[in-house]
Each structure stands twice: as C-alpha cells, then as structure tokens.
C-alpha cells in the first residue's frame, strides 16, 4: 500500500537556542551582534594549543554554572564533570528549547537529529583518558548520552557531513516530518574548538591571525569557533507570528571537483540554491536576504560569489555571521540559520562583520551596517570539505 504523503506539508520553526562566545541564548547572541560585539580573540592557552591563536570560545565558567543549575533543577544527582564540554553545550542548548516549548521528548512521534563534525574529539587528549571511556569518542555514544539525558524515546539520527552538517540535519528533520513519520523534531548541532581541529586547520594555513573578514579584499582565512544551536520543528505552527516561519525548500549537492577545495565555477552550489528556491516557489526577485557560508578563506568566498551570481541573486543583500563568532563547523548551519531566522522575525539585516572592501570576483550586495528591512524569506547556504554544498530557504507564512 502506498502511503499518502504531503510533500508540501509546511514545517515550522517553533523555537530555538544557540550558544557561542557571545551568549547562551538566541536573544543574548542577537543583542550582542546588534551592538557590534565580536567574540573572536587571540587566545594564549598552552593547554589548548602550543602557540597563540585567534578563536571564538564559549565561556567555561558560565557553561559549568548553567549545567550545574540544570542538573539541580532536573533533580539529577550527577556530577557536571561526568559530561564532556560538547555534551554540556548540547545539555544547555536543548534544555533551553525544551523549557520554552510543549514538545515531549518521550513521545514516539518526536524525532531527535544531531549534527557534529568531530563530536568529543578532545577525548583523544591524554588529560581526558582517565576520566572518560574510549567509547565516548563515537558519535553514536555522544548521541546516546544526549538521548538519555532528556529521555528521548527515539534513537537520534546523527549527521556528520563536514561544514554542511547543520543544514543537512535541518533538511533531514524536515523531510522526515513531511513524510508523516514524526510530528515534531529537535534538531541540534554542536562542535568545540580543540587542539585536534586547530592543528589541522593550521596545517592548511587556513586560520586568520585576526578576526576573519568574510568577502573582504584583505581576508586572510577563517576563524575557528565553537558553539551549539537547537531548533524545534513542527508540522503545526505556533500561536505567535515568530512561530510561523517555515523551512520552505532545501537541497544539497557535490562539486565532484576536489576534496579540500571548492568548485572553480560555483555551479554546484548554485544548483542546490536553485532547487531550494524552486521548492519554495520563489523567484530571485522575491528573495529577501542571503546568510552565506562566508568562511573568509580566499577560495570559499570566491566560489560563493560565483554561485550567488549564477543563481541571479547578485542584488540580494548578503552577510556572513562568521565575523562575529567564527566558524562553528557542525554547529554552523544551525547557529547561522537561527541568526538568519532572527533577521526575518525582527525585520533587521545585520552587518557582515569584518567586511570593508569588496574582494570577490562577482558583485555582491554585502550588508555593511545594521538596517531595518521588510523580510519575508531568506536563503542559508553552506559548503564544506568533500565538495559538499547545501541551501535552505526559510520563509514567513
């Protein structure tokens, strides 16, 4: 028997949270960037990395305090130190969305989707070997810890697809909700900065010595960041206007060109953008805003400008949030989606931090100061190692 499925069934974002160096909630982060705060600093922490390095880090003292408070409030007799740094991110972020919604983790119709690139990779360091079991390095074990902490009935779906992981998690949840298999979903993504990741990106000479400058002529590479973002998705809208924004289109693609360098033409990202636009029934003229991947590496930003041009979106305002809190890897797609959705809710375009002088081959309308704008839709893009690209459209009802 063929199950009748409504592919156009809308999927709404009911509420959200994200954590970066600039705050522990969506409201704190958005207030910080509205005030022009930058969370990227030169860190001189020999335990983390042998040399000083420019990073965006979540405040550890505040993180630990929040985890202790949550454990007390939930009457859980567990030491906060039985959780890894990344697990603490997930606990704080998911707790915040659950507290503010009616979603029931224990319901079999509630899906949990987790995205991360490296999970608890810091557990490879000697200092953690005596504290955590080797098993905790596996992403499914990280998923199990989160599932059991909140009592989710379903085993989480875990996505690890480089820097597009967060967007793949959102589209996976959306498609599974549209298939009729679930009614609500918690979609969460997180990654930490670690010696493992810093040393790798340093070996590529990809890390900027100063806060990154997406799309700028004088950009000198990316800034690594850490963070976590969580969204509650539902097939029913919420009562407030803020809860009537939906996932209107989504697609991924692959460059089939190089495992560590982006497409030379941008055609493949452009294809994913076009598929998402088509699904959302949007024409280029109707799109209000683009939240780009904008890592501030030479080649990523070049490729994105070409893709945006190819899709006929050169006149649409664009920003990158990475100038504020760096590249949060597996969290980035979700964190930046929530920031972009905040733009839609508040009808404000936030400036692309670090940008001064145009420095990409195709013209882009980069947002250079915070300004009001009547927005009904936005496009979020991401690209990553392995040649992957992703595009999602968020739209007001």
């Amino acid at each position: 028997m063929q199950l009748m499925v409504d592919r156009m069934k809308p999927v709404y974002i009911l509420n959200d949270n994200f954590i970066t160096s600039l705050g522990f909630s969506t409201a704190e982060n958005i207030a910080a960037i509205a005030g022009g705060a930058i969370g990227i600093r030169t860190m001189n922490d020999p335990v983390l990395y042998p040399n000083p390095v420019s990073l965006s880090q979540v405040d550890t003292a505040q993180l630990d305090q929040k985890v202790s408070d949550i454990l007390a409030a939930l009457n859980k007799n567990i030491s906060p130190e039985s959780f890894t740094r990344l697990e603490k991110f997930f606990i704080v972020s998911i707790n915040d969305v659950l507290r503010n919604s009616t979603i029931m983790p224990g319901n079999h119709r509630t899906l949990l989707v987790i995205s991360t690139t490296k999970g608890n990779i810091n557990l490879l360091e000697n200092r953690y070997k005596a504290i955590f079991s080797h098993k905790r390095l596996y992403l499914w074990e990280l998923g199990r810890v989160i599932q059991h902490f909140f009592g989710f009935a379903n085993t989480p779906v875990i996505i690890s697809n480089a820097c597009i992981s967060g967007l793949v998690a959102v589209m996976t949840a959306t498609r599974f909700l549209q298939s009729g298999a679930y009614d609500q979903a918690v979609v969460t993504g997180g990654d930490i900065v670690s010696e493992f990741v810093i040393s790798g990106f340093q070996s590529f000479q990809a890390i900027s010595p100063a806060p990154c400058k997406p799309f700028d002529l004088n950009r000198t590479g990316l800034s690594l960041g850490e963070g976590c973002g969580t969204m509650v998705l539902s097939t029913e809208p919420g009562p407030s206007a803020a809860q009537m924004i939906r996932v209107a289109g989504a697609a991924t693609s692959n460059d089939a060109n190089h495992i560590s360098g982006p497409s030379r033409t941008g055609e493949e990202l452009s294809w994913a953008i076009n598929q998402a636009m088509k699904q959302a029934l949007l024409t280029p003229k109707e799109l209000g805003y683009i939240s780009a991947h904008g890592t501030a590496t030479l080649f990523n930003d070049e490729m994105e400008s070409k893709a945006i041009g190819l899709s006929g979106l050169a006149e649409v305002p664009v920003n990158s949030f990475k100038g504020y809190w760096g590249h949060t890897l597996g969290a980035a797609g979700i964190v930046e989606s929530i920031a972009a959705i905040s733009s839609l809710r508040n009808n404000i375009l936030y400036k692309s931090a670090g940008f001064k002088t145009p420095g990409v081959p195709e013209p882009l309308d980069i947002v250079t100061s915070n300004r009001p704008a009547e927005l009904t839709s936005c496009l979020k893009t991401a690209s990553g190692f392995g040649g992957c690209n992703a595009a999602i459209i968020y739209q007001k009802d």
């Binding site: 063929q2 499925v5 592919r7 042998p50 690139t117 490296k118 999970g119 990779i121 490879l124 390095l137 596996y138 992403l139 499914w140 074990e141 998923g143 199990r144 085993t155 779906v157 875990i158 996505i159 690890s160 697809n161 480089a162 793949v168 996976t172 498609r175 599974f176 549209q178 298939s179 298999a181 010696e195 493992f196 040393s199 790798g200 990106f201 340093q202 070996s203 590529f204 697609a251 991924t252 693609s253 692959n254 460059d255 089939a256 060109n257 190089h258 495992i259 560590s260 493949e268 294809w271 598929q275 699904q279 990553g384 190692f385 392995g386 040649g387 992957c388």
Partner: protein, 216 residues
C-alpha cells in the same frame, strides 16, 4: 512508486561479493591496506589518486567501483544521482593517525593530507569526483548498520524528486577491520534491462538491505 536495488557489493573478512557472486577471497591478509590494494589490482582499476586516500575512502571507492561496473551511471545527469553513506566509527581510523602527529609538542607534524580525511563524508567526495556525481549527499552515523534509516533517507530523496538514482551503503573501517556494503538504487523504469548486472533487481526496502548485509 517502487524503487529497486539494481546492483550491490559487499566487502568484509577478506572477501568481496558482487551481486551475490564471490569475486575475491584470500586467507591470511592481516592488514586492511593489503586487502584493499590486492582487490584494487585484481580489478585492474587505473586511478593513481587511490593511493592517497585514507582507509574509509579506499573502501568506499572500491565498493562503488564494483557496483558501477555492471550498473552504469551513463544516462543519468550528475545532479540526479545521490550518495548516502553511513558507518559507526566516522573517521576515527584517520583521526587516530592525525592525533599521532600532534601528540608530542616537541615533534609536531600535522599534515593537511591526513587532516582532510578526518571527516567521514570525504569518501562521498572521492566517489563523486571519480564518477562525476553532483547530486544530494549525506553521511549518517549509527552504532550498527541501520537499514531502515538508510532506506527512509534515500526514499525521501526519491519522493522529493531530488534523485533519479542513488548509491547508498555502509562503509566501516577501524584498525584493519572493514565492513562495507554498497547498493545502487534506481527507479522502476530504469530496471527493464535489469539483467545487465547478472542480478534480478530486488525491491529497495529495509528487509532486502538487511538480507544483502547478512547473507553475503
């Protein structure tokens, strides 16, 4: 609409099975690198980039070569083909190699050619480069082979008309132990010449994915 598995490969315990036929078995190979190199040579594949790949990418690459030998991708635009893979240990095999390069602060030697493989989806990139595949891609992690999850994920790609054909599978390697399965999924109307691979197309469902995994 029904979809079909039109070709498959299985690699584990020094065995290689394609569409139900054992095409390679050699006792006493201890290292994964030796096993996969021997299979690569037996297949007479010419692809120098193979030697630069990490273990997960080599395994996924060979598993795909074996599947596409009979079930040709010709006729599908690159954008219409998807790749959805999964495993249990992500890129841990290569993570440990990168970690070796940073264990000693006085002898730091991290290398981009190792670090780039510390993501599980790099194998998807390698498969896409080799076969000019440009469509949907995703890498999912689960503790053990999860046929329903793979089936549901790939089915949604077909339902959303994102793909016309899709490679899907399980590509697991850690510490010289490998376990791989790759299948080619196509729509009904592409199966009329289903005899080409020497295999009668099987309905694409979780039961058949589990059957291929366990019976081969």
């Amino acid at each position: 609409m029904d979809r079909f598995i039109t070709s498959y490969s299985r690699l584990h315990d020094n065995k290689v099975i394609v569409n139900g036929r054992l095409i390679f078995y050699q006792e006493n190979i201890i290292k994964f690198a030796d096993f996969i190199k021997t299979v690569f040579k037996q297949e007479q594949t010419v692809y120098p980039k193979f030697y630069k790949m990490d273990a997960v990418s080599k395994l996924g690459f060979i598993a795909t070569e074996l599947v596409l030998k009979d079930a040709k991708l010709a006729g599908y635009p690159g954008e219409s083909v998807g790749v959805v893979l999964s495993n249990a240990s992500s890129s841990l095999d290569t993570d440990l190699a990168h970690n070796e390069t940073i264990r000693d602060r006085s002898g730091y030697f991290p290398s981009p050619s190792v670090f780039v493989y510390t993501l599980p989806n790099i194998v998807i990139g390698e498969v896409c480069i080799r076969n000019k595949i440009k469509g949907e891609n995703a890498f999912l992690i689960s503790e053990t082979f999860n046929a329903s999850l793979l089936h549901d994920y790939v089915s949604e790609l077909f339902n959303n008309e994102r793909v016309e054909a899709c490679l899907c599978g399980w590509i697991e390697v850690l510490a010289n132990k490998c376990d791989a399965m790759m299948v080619m999924v196509e729509k009904e109307d592409h199966c009329r010449n289903g005899g080409a691979s020497g295999m009668k197309p099987m309905l694409f469902n979780a039961e058949n994915l589990n059957f291929i995994m366990k019976r081969n």
